[in-house]
């Protein structure tokens, strides 16, 4: 009996130790540093000043708002595209849909930095060539003004994430009992009716997972932002993670950056909890 009890501890303790060491302790130290004027080498306690200045910092508020906008747009688009992909590849079971599965998932295998550079090439060189060949102003100067820069990052992120989200939807679509669909077909339901009244309600848990994943990821987006626009033009596409990085390692206001990080943490936590609570309710 005693041995069994200790066995349990022996399995759990190493993991607990590392989680404490790598996540919990740095997190607590981070909270402390958000009340200092640390520049990475020296620091002294300055109370709530970082937070006071933060809420008057137009750049912080601007990049925060940009991140909220970005998350809203990309969460919706990624889930729509991901679900559409999933429906396409599960509609039939032939060689085409199998290869499509791979193709849709492929972007997710490439790292964010690389994707950023690939799309930078597409947006600047390829789009420029299209603009020149067909005299289409729409394709001119992408990434060089704030709105196309924003949509550039959205397109890149949707392209990268929807393949991954598709996988989640596929597994849930496949888990839908075939007999419910067959029964609906027998009752004379149309394809759209089957989708909205049979499949969609049974996909609720998939939405919970996918929304959570996309929301958390889009709030924390950094490397795609860095590689594609690096915040430009004139910091108009600088999202919150990049703002925090630049504040810490370009401005060397690491205490201040830490304070911004704490705010980001609180926001992501609150938004995720609300979203989880809402989706769970619908699932139930």
């Amino acid at each position: 009996m005693l041995i069994k009890k200790h066995q349990y501890l022996a399995f759990v303790l190493p993991a607990v130790f590392f989680i404490l060491l790598i996540i919990v302790v740095p997190f607590l130290i981070g909270i402390y540093y958000s009340f200092t004027d640390s520049n990475g080498l020296r620091s002294s306690f300055i109370g709530w000043k970082n937070f006071e200045v933060l809420f008057q910092d137009s750049t912080f508020l601007q990049s925060f708002w940009l991140t909220v906008k970005f998350s809203f747009v990309s969460v919706i688009l990624i889930n729509l595209v991901g679900l559409a992909f999933a429906l396409i590849v599960t509609s039939h079971n032939n060689r085409l849909t199998k290869s499509l599965r791979t193709i849709f998932f492929m972007p997710n295998l490439i790292g964010g930095i690389l994707l950023g550079f690939i799309w930078q090439f597409i947006f600047t060189s390829a789009f420029q060539a299209i603009a020149a060949a067909f005299h289409l102003d729409f394709f001119k100067g992408w990434l060089s003004n704030p709105s196309t820069g924003f949509w550039g990052i959205v397109i890149l992120f949707v392209w990268q994430m929807s393949g991954y989200i598709m996988l989640i939807y596929i597994s849930f679509l496949n888990a839908i009992p075939k007999n419910t669909i067959q029964a609906a077909v027998l009752d004379g339901a149309k394809a759209t009716q089957i989708f909205f009244f049979i499949k969609l309600p049974q996909l609720a848990p998939a939405f919970t997972i996918s929304l959570f994943l996309t929301l958390a990821n889009s709030f924390k987006l950094y490397e795609q932002n860095l590689a594609l626009t690096n915040g430009g033009p004139y910091r108009s596409t600088e999202m919150i993670s990049m703002y925090i990085y630049n504040t810490a390692f370009v401005n060397f206001q690491q205490g201040y950056a830490q304070a911004a990080g704490i705010i980001l943490f609180l926001c992501v936590t609150i938004v995720s909890f609300i979203q989880l609570a809402l989706s769970r309710k619908r699932e139930g």
Partner: protein, 432 residues
């Protein structure tokens, strides 16, 4: 029986292996004691890594027990990489630092260089750029000139004599003439201002912010406000650039602006200094002597305007490894006082030395000679853009001026936002 034999064989094998490992270890540690020193040199100018490596090799040939390991990290990542070195306990022995804000960050690690042979010879008005708490902790890497680089061939085609441009209205006339004869002289636009690079924007801004500090870089570093004294002229120049630049201005980047636009004579002027010399001569031998000239900004506009001359980078020695300090000092002395090192610095790095009493005739081109004369003259002026708070260039001034260039912000708003950001950055950054 057989089993046992294997067991013994295994054991002996393991033992001998561990013995080998142990002897290797002790051997290598003995080697380490043999008074060999490896100096770590942290360089933030990637374009001259090869030349520094050459200097390191030359020094090693003369002092076989001193090895110099050069680590290079630049183009934005340098400052963060350096901090990572310090945080991980691997502080380099010699570090290259850009401006007083960076020097201030490491001031507790830097030793006083006042008694160094190399420091005694530094051009006087560059000294304050390496001072922290009244201690001289940095010595300038070179002497750089800030102004407009112009293409002599383009000016000649338009029939403009640069030596006759001595005030703003004459400069304006020349610009308008170049613009009206754009087609004839084959230029795309008068200016090739690289609006994409915040660093170039900052160095140009120094033309209008440096005069109030009159070479006192410590004062510039401590200033709590951004100096707007010459804002009228600042706005004039920015408006001029906006009007006569290659468009879209924010898409013009540093490398193409030098290597294509300027080198191929597609623009008449770019806002760069003598740091473009190696690039231009690398593309075509003798290009600089033939084609490159520099014009000052006319800020006071009273005939006393000169090219600004200063040093963006300073070298310091850390006290983290006391045993290696002497070797580090010797190496720096050698770099700044020996003829062979100077030859590499002036002929291969194409630097203008930051030392007094240098024989001007040794410099390989006329522009470098001119810069040395201006930089060592009585009325030389140092630019202050390296003393702006950390991040001010990339995070505030640069983006706001970029916005101004594309009419995204009015001059009044620009002033307000820039001043506020300057104050905020100074306030939150710990320092003196």
């Amino acid at each position: 029986m057989k089993k046992r034999f294997f067991k013994i064989a295994k054991l002996t094998f393991m033992l001998s292996l561990s013995l080998i490992v142990l002897t290797c270890c002790s051997f290598s540690s003995q080697k380490g004691k043999n008074s060999k020193i490896t100096l770590n040199f942290f360089n933030q100018k990637p374009e001259i890594t090869a030349q520094y490596q050459k200097l390191a090799r030359m020094y090693h040939a003369k002092h076989p027990n001193v090895n110099i390991q050069i680590t290079t990290s630049g183009q934005g990542g340098g400052a963060a990489a350096l901090q990572a070195k310090f945080a991980s306990g691997e502080a380099p022995d010699i570090i290259m630092l850009g401006g007083l804000p960076e020097i201030d960050r490491y001031k507790d690690h830097l030793i006083n260089l006042k008694d160094l042979k190399a420091s005694k010879n530094i051009v006087p008005n560059l000294v304050s750029g390496g001072i922290s708490n009244k201690r001289m902790v940095g010595i300038p890497v070179d002497l750089e000139a800030y102004g407009w680089s112009y293409n002599k061939a383009v000016f000649a085609k338009a029939g403009i004599d640069a030596s006759k441009i001595n005030n703003y209205s004459e400069f304006l006339k020349a610009v308008e003439k170049l613009n009206s004869e754009k087609k004839k002289i084959g230029i795309d636009a008068v200016f090739g201002f690289n609006g994409a690079d915040t660093n170039s924007i900052a160095s140009v801004s120094a033309q209008f912010t440096s005069l109030p500090y009159n070479n006192n870089l410590v004062k510039a570093f401590k200033s709590k406000t951004f100096p707007w004294k010459y804002e009228r002229q600042m706005k004039n120049y920015y408006d001029l650039v906006k009007k006569y630049n290659v468009q879209p201005i924010l898409s013009v980047k540093y490398d193409p602006s030098v290597q294509d636009l300027f080198f191929n004579g597609k623009v008449a002027m770019i806002p760069q200094g003598n740091w473009i010399i190696p690039t231009l001569d690398g593309l075509e031998k003798g290009y600089v002597q033939k084609n490159l000239g520099m014009l000052p900004f006319f800020v006071k506009n009273d005939g006393t305007d000169r090219l600004l001359t200063g040093s963006s980078w300073y070298l310091g020695i850390t006290k983290d490894h006391p045993k290696r300090q002497k070797a580090a000092k010797d190496f720096i002395n050698w770099m700044y006082t020996s003829k062979e090192a100077e030859n590499v610095i002036i002929n291969e790095m194409r630097f203008v030395p930051a030392t007094k009493n240098f024989d001007v005739s040794r410099l390989p081109d006329d522009l470098s000679k001119q810069i040395y004369r201006i930089g060592t003259s009585k009325n030389a002026q140092s630019p202050v853009h390296k003393q702006y708070p950390n991040g001010f260039t990339n995070q505030a001034l640069g983006p706001y001026i970029q916005r101004y260039f594309v009419n995204g912000i009015s001059w009044k708003e620009l002033k307000k936002e820039t001043s506020a950001k300057y104050r905020q950055l100074r306030e939150i950054q710990s320092g003196e």
